[in-house]
């Protein structure tokens, strides 16, 4: 790329041609206050006017996020004119913003508050009318509060980029403009899949997960026997809430923190991931042998399940009937473990810590009530766990490493760990399917073909003379390609893994926010690399495990021997399998 000469604050620099002023300044070590920094244009570009600077050759001030650098350009960030203009831009945003910052769960990671501090914006500079606001707290998963929305449009872009046909869009005009689902509907009456990708990009608290910490508090207060389980992706990101480098696995500290929060037992959802593999691999081989519906599609991701029910109601027979791992865990805890421990299952309160907003919605499904009891009673996101730990005064970084409880249930294999990343469920299933079909373990354990972040991955494996064609998709935009093929009768696959979020659970809607402005110690390209770093944390935990195939989990073996009989047995079906129902995208309000 050709280099050009520019000056910033009077200093000469050489930068790549074609960059915006914001990008060029960043490469030279300047952070121009902005509301977007580096989100690859996932916003209503240039509209917020926060990043105004002076540049020679331009008329007036320019928005540095969209204005390109040119040869000989002299850029001034700190002139009185530019400084005052940036402050006024933020003050105008604040004039139509709910100023309840103290009680906003986003206040530690709010980009608007951040630029308000940087620019010295005064919240009461422009007082006047405010746009009529909408507060949607109807669903168990996502809260939309337009009084905090700055109309940047990041959520609109992310929803569409991840899922093709987005659910959110700008509506109305001028001062009445808001962002929301069509007809300003609540999320439950729209085709929203509750994945929470919109939450992960919102610069303010306009889109947030529903805070369920109070539910957990109430269970403790009521004297319930409260246990907790954590999904694999949580350990790969929780440390970020406490300033640790992205990609640091904090399994031991997380367990230690959960014990100090008062949970009676701390289980790993990975145990149930192994159980899921036993059930799912058996289901798959059964379908192949008995001419059942193929391809079979995984059902662990509740965002994906929502999408299937909303948009592909005719294909629901392709979904595995397996519950997702944390729901299986809940059912096993309440209907097996509790009895063994002499605990009344009615007194047992199961909390799941998940990287996911959609899991909150999943836990409320009627189909996930077993023998009159909800499988999982409350779901917290990784971020909520971070808040809970901080609220309790626990110094997370200084905690010792502790081990999960392995009390009859809880032991897990490397196969369970990699469930948290796209391709992981597929790889875990293949490890076990290979063993079942060939009678021996797959050489080298790994199935590299299904790893990585390509939108759609496909592979064929020859297992004991049988060719198994598989595909992996993440984000509904990619999934749609595979689903339309199935609908058209053209699909060549036996088994498909689909996850709702781009990258899988490590990038779930409940994971810590990745904002370069709050991550001064990370590399400049962190928004491009964080997914791979979190994934690497899981793959290296897999490598460290001595047992790496679900069927070799001794506690899972014992569970079948003592209790369930065999995979897909009658009892396994009662406790571990579920059903789906087609839904309308826009039901009557």
């Amino acid at each position: 790329m050709a280099k050009i000469n520019i000056k910033i604050e009077g200093y000469p620099y050489q930068v790549e041609a074609g960059l915006t002023i914001l990008e060029a300044a960043r490469a030279c070590g300047y952070e121009i206050p902005s509301l977007c920094a580096y989100n690859h244009g996932e916003c209503n570009r240039g509209s917020c006017r926060v990043c105004l600077v002076e540049a020679t050759g331009a008329r007036g001030l320019v928005a540095s996020c969209v204005y390109p650098v040119s040869e000989g350009m002299e850029i001034t960030i700190s002139s009185p004119k530019a400084t005052a203009a940036r402050r006024a831009s933020v003050e105008l945003l604040l004039s139509n913003h709910s100023m309840k910052c103290q009680q906003c769960d986003k206040n530690e990671k709010c980009e608007l508050l951040h630029v308000a501090k940087l620019t010295g914006a005064r919240e009461d500079m422009f007082l006047g009318s405010q746009t009529e606001t909408t507060l949607d707290e109807v669903t168990p998963a996502i809260v939309r509060d337009t009084s905090k929305c700055v109309l940047c449009g990041r959520c609109v872009a992310r929803c569409a980029n991840a899922h093709g046909e987005g659910v959110l869009a700008f509506q109305n005009r001028g001062f009445k403009t808001i962002i929301g689902p069509a007809e300003n509907r609540t999320f439950d009456k729209s085709p929203c899949i509750m994945c929470g990708q919109c939450i992960t990009v919102c610069p303010t608290g306009a889109l947030m997960e529903k805070n369920d910490i109070a539910k957990v508090d109430a269970a403790f207060a009521a004297g319930k026997y409260v246990v907790v389980q954590t999904a694999p992706a949580v350990r790969a990101a929780l440390g970020e809430e406490f300033g640790m480098k992205i990609g640091t696995a904090v399994t031991g500290k997380m367990v230690a923190a959960l014990r100090r929060l008062g949970f009676k037992k701390v289980f790993d959802t990975n145990y149930a991931a192994d159980l899921t593999i036993m059930e799912e691999a058996t289901e798959l081989l059964g379908r192949i042998k008995n001419g059942g519906k193929l391809p079979m599609i995984t059902s662990c991701s509740p965002g994906w399940v929502n999408y299937a029910e909303l948009r592909y109601g005719d294909l629901l027979g392709h979904l595995s009937s397996c519950k997702s791992p944390h729901e299986m865990m809940g059912a096993i805890l309440k209907h097996y473990w509790a009895e063994k421990q002499g605990i009344d299952p009615k007194d047992l309160f199961v909390v799941s810590v998940m990287p996911c907003s959609s899991k909150k919605n999943e836990a409320e499904r009627d189909q996930l009530v077993t023998r009159g009891l909800k499988d999982v009673d409350a779901v917290l996101t990784t971020r909520e766990l971070g808040r809970l730990i901080k609220r309790s005064g626990i110094n997370f970084v200084k905690l010792p490493d502790e081990e999960f409880d392995y009390d009859l249930v809880g032991e897990y294999t490397g196969a369970g760990v990699i469930f948290g990343v796209t391709g992981g469920v597929m790889e875990a299933a293949l490890r076990t399917a290979a063993y079942v079909l060939t009678g021996k373990e797959h050489e080298g354990v790994k199935f590299e073909e299904v790893r990585g972040f390509d939108g759609i991955k496909e592979a064929s494996f020859d297992l004991a003379g049988m060719t198994v064609n598989v595909a992996v998709a993440h984000g509904m935009k990619n999934a749609k390609v595979l689903l339309d093929d199935i609908r058209a009768g053209k699909s060549k696959y036996h088994f498909i893994e689909i996850m709702g979020c781009p990258g899988g659970c490590i990038n779930g809607g409940g994971q810590p926010y990745v904002r370069e402005c709050f991550l001064p110690n990370e590399d400049l390209d962190i928004v491009d690399t964080y997914k791979a770093k979190r994934a690497a944390a899981l793959y290296s935990e897999d490598e460290r495990q001595t047992v790496r195939q679900s069927h070799n989990n001794p506690q899972i073996k014992a569970l079948y021997d003592e209790f369930l009989g065999e995979p897909n047995s009658h009892l396994a079906h009662e406790l571990l399998h579920t059903g789906y129902a087609a839904r309308e995208c826009f039901p009557e309000k």
Binding site: E165, G166, L168, A169, Q171, A182, E183, S190
Partner: protein, 163 residues
């Protein structure tokens, strides 16, 4: 989409297909539907979404952005009161207020009997005859507030006659 008649589905499908070769056909499709039916409810937006691949949320955004499009059926008589600068100076606000008072609806709304809709218009280019009112395309020049009850009565009589 359950509420659309087969004929409507067929016609809207035909409208969508009319612009199949266009790069950005949405505006043209929506304007044809608006002209044909007088409004674009959500059922119709869902059908257009299915045919074009544009999300319902985006279509709804376009429909609510342009005042030419309407989400609800308009009345038999659409009373457009120009509120452009010249008309405004000449008392258009009093004119629109009088229509609102007589019909019992705010600008943008339709009477319950489906007879009248009041629209506030921006300049319609008839500044020489301000304040101007346009009813179903017929322009009323230099409308005086005291003439408004008569205009409404006349329309009501006509509307009743061919109803």
């Amino acid at each position: 989409m359950a509420h659309l008649s087969e004929a409507a589905v067929a016609q809207i499908t035909e409208i969508c297909e009319r612009y199949a070769g266009e790069r950005t056909p949405l505006m043209m499709i929506l304007s044809d539907i608006q002209k044909e039916y007088g409004y674009i409810p959500l059922d119709v937006q869902e059908l257009v979404s299915e045919k074009t691949g544009v999300s319902v949320a985006d279509i709804y955004g376009v429909v609510t952005f342009y005042s030419f499009f309407s989400l609800k059926p308009k009345g038999k008589y659409v009373i457009g009161v120009c509120l452009g600068t010249a008309c405004y100076v000449k008392g258009a606000q009093q004119v629109i207020d009088k229509f609102s008072e007589i019909l019992g609806i705010a600008p943008g709304e339709t009477t319950e009997d489906g007879m009248f809709t009041i629209d506030a218009l921006r300049c319609i280019g008839a500044c020489g005859i301000a304040p101007a009112v346009s009813i179903n395309g017929k322009v009323y020049p230099k409308v005086e507030v005291k003439a408004i009850p008569g205009i409404v009565e006349e329309l009501r009589a006509q509307g009743g006659a061919n109803a």
